[in-house]
């Protein structure tokens, strides 16, 4: 965590944000798939300085076997922050925050995985936050969704996530750690754009109903942009496969 001294100015005189972005501007987003040799699918996603690795194993035999379901595959999901990912070293033991986030991320992915195709199996999603600079859960969902696709798991759509927020009274997209810490509201959203479905929605902070609508609209716009990049990255990978053959 950044040491909390004085609240910095989050919106500058010229209307831009503390890092020079416009309120509706995403950070620089980078994505790679197939970055791990052993996992069935993997992805590395960066939103600015936030960097997240996701790996998918499965469908495979669940461990232990009795947790399986007869009519569908179960999803197992772990969101975890590496000890070096934060300013002060984070103990690798799971925190209450990580336990909650593992749950909401799993619930954000459940609606898009066609789990009925693999009864009694387990699809395991392991997310490692390598460097945290705000928006780690939404970056994680974008990465996990890519890793699932990379593993060849049948899906109804991809999910992309982004956190919107309110800082110094302005609704902004893709908030970073400073904006999260000193801002008035942080609202992570994830959606499956082609299905038109929101699969994760949280709000930490206070918004009026009209601010909420503005924030949700802004999030959906950003998700569309991220979704485009996701599809591009997956397509590029298969183009490369073709060339190799």
């Amino acid at each position: 965590m950044v040491s909390k001294v004085e609240k910095p100015k989050l919106i500058r005189e010229d209307g831009l944000r503390h890092d020079g972005r416009r309120p509706d501007e995403l950070r620089s987003i980078k994505m790679q798939v197939g970055v791990l040799k052993n996992a069935n699918g993997s992805a590395l996603v960066e939103y600015g300085r936030t960097r997240v690795l996701a790996a998918v194993y499965g469908p495979r035999e669940p461990q232990p076997k009795h947790i399986s379901l007869p009519y569908r595959a179960i999803l197992r999901c772990r969101y975890h922050m590496a000890p070096f990912s934060t300013h002060e070293r984070k103990s690798p033991a799971p925190t209450r925050r990580e336990i909650e986030l593992s749950k909401v991320i799993r619930e954000a992915l459940e609606p898009i995985v066609i789990s009925e195709m693999f009864p009694r199996a387990s699809i395991d999603i392991f997310i490692e936050v390598l460097n945290a600079d705000g928006g780690t859960r939404t970056t994680s969902i974008t990465a996990a969704s890519l890793a699932l696709a990379d593993a060849g798991i049948p899906m109804r759509d991809l999910v992309a996530g982004v956190a919107v927020g309110k800082v110094d009274g302005v609704i902004v997209i893709d908030i970073d750690e400073v904006e999260d810490m000193y801002g008035e509201a942080d609202m992570p959203v994830a959606a499956a754009p082609s299905l038109g479905k929101i699969t994760l929605l949280q709000l930490n902070g206070v918004l009026t109903p009209s601010e909420f609508k503005e924030a949700l609209d802004l999030a959906m716009k950003g998700i569309q942009e991220i979704y485009k990049i996701q599809k591009e990255v997956l397509k590029t990978k298969y183009l490369e496969v073709k060339v190799e053959e």
């Binding site: 040491s3 909390k4 009795h66 947790i67 399986s68 379901l69 569908r72 179960i74 999803l75 197992r76 999901c77 772990r78 209450r96 925050r97 336990i99 909650e100 593992s102 749950k103 909401v104 991320i105 799993r106 619930e107 459940e110 609606p111 789990s115 008035e184 509201a185 609202m187 499956a192 299905l195 038109g196 479905k197 929101i198 699969t199 994760l200 929605l201 949280q202 709000l203 930490n204 902070g205 206070v206 918004l207 009026t208 109903p209 909420f212 609508k213 949700l216 959906m220």
Partner: protein
């Protein structure tokens, strides 16, 4: 690690189909309307040893919240504020599915959702809970105890939390240099509560929204959205909970409905507290009521508002 639940509450398929077909017709198996809460019972000062407490029975869901104030050190980034800690226990008395042991992801989620609903809106005035700035402050421990599970644990817990906070008192403490003497059983005044916040959980099945789902309804829902509503009509927190998804339009409808129901719920809780503890600020209550009477006489707008809310109440019957 979070795993797709394999031991959820199970109801017969026939029953599930009946519940769904009834909901489609706009009624519920219990006879409630889609936008009705179950019967609510609030008992404050339920735990004599706590500094504030409430027992809440929402239908057959039973929750106790105990609030205790203890001396502690402030967080380094907020040296001039007290602290709040929210924990939830799903006690094994509450359900055959609850096992003894550390809180699971559902209990942790519940506690964190309630915590967030209070924190950013500054529901408790933490600046008034400082004894020695930077060194000694009151820590408000909010412990949520789920005793019996018949669905909608989050709202029942939120109601109990609000009722417990509104009746909590700050223990008497004397500061002598670096030493603090706490007098047991003596209080300096009520816990400073700035804002009243309550969560409203709305379940969704097909395109139908329903308030306060019971445990059987929860098994058939696509998903739920928990909306924290403040007494000044703002959204103080959100959490989509459950495996399904929501369209943007559905989210907007849900938040709109929650704002309306949340306001009613806060009023209901306030009323039940006034009945339960008439000795706490009885004069202020009388004055407030007088003030309302005067306002009603003076302003037509207020009369209109009252008319609208009565209409809502009738609709909900």
């Amino acid at each position: 690690m979070s795993i797709t639940p394999s031991s959820d509450y199970i109801i017969p398929k026939l029953k599930a189909e009946t519940i769904i077909s009834l909901i489609k017709k706009g009624v519920r198996a219990s006879g409630r309307g889609l936008e009705d809460f179950r019967e609510l019972e609030v008992v404050t000062n339920y735990i004599p040893n706590a500094d504030g407490s409430a027992f809440v029975k929402l239908g057959n869901t039973q929750v106790v919240v105990g609030v205790k104030l203890e001396l502690g050190t402030p967080y380094p980034d907020t040296p001039n504020e007290g602290a709040i800690v929210v924990s939830a226990e799903f006690v094994p008395t509450a359900s055959p599915l609850f096992e003894p042991g550390p809180p699971d992801e559902n209990a942790i989620e519940l506690a964190r959702v309630i915590d967030r609903s209070l924190r950013e809106i500054k529901a408790i005035d933490l600046s008034k809970l400082v004894l020695i700035p930077g060194k000694r402050v009151w820590v408000v421990w909010i412990d949520i105890y789920v005793l019996d599970h018949d669905g909608n644990l989050i709202d029942a817990s939120s109601i109990a939390t609000l009722a417990a906070l509104l009746t909590a008192k700050v223990p008497k403490a004397e500061v002598e240099g670096e030493e603090i003497k706490v007098s047991k059983g003596e209080y300096t005044g009520p816990l400073p509560v700035n804002r009243k916040v309550v969560t409203v959980t709305i379940g969704k099945i097909y395109d139908i929204m329903l308030i306060d789902p019971d445990i059987e309804e929860e098994t058939v829902l696509d998903t739920k959205l928990v909306i924290a509503v403040s007494d000044d009509g703002r959204i103080a927190g959100l959490q989509k909970s459950g495996m399904g998804a929501l369209s943007k339009d559905e989210v907007m409808r849900m938040t709109e409905l929650a704002m309306k129901k949340g306001k009613e719920l806060i009023e209901k809780i306030e009323k039940s507290i006034k009945v339960a503890v008439p000795e706490v600020g009885a004069e202020e209550v009388a004055e407030e009521e007088k003030a309302i009477e005067i306002a009603e006489e003076e302003s037509e707008n207020v009369e209109k508002d009252v008319g609208v809310s009565e209409k809502h109440r009738e609709n909900n019957k």
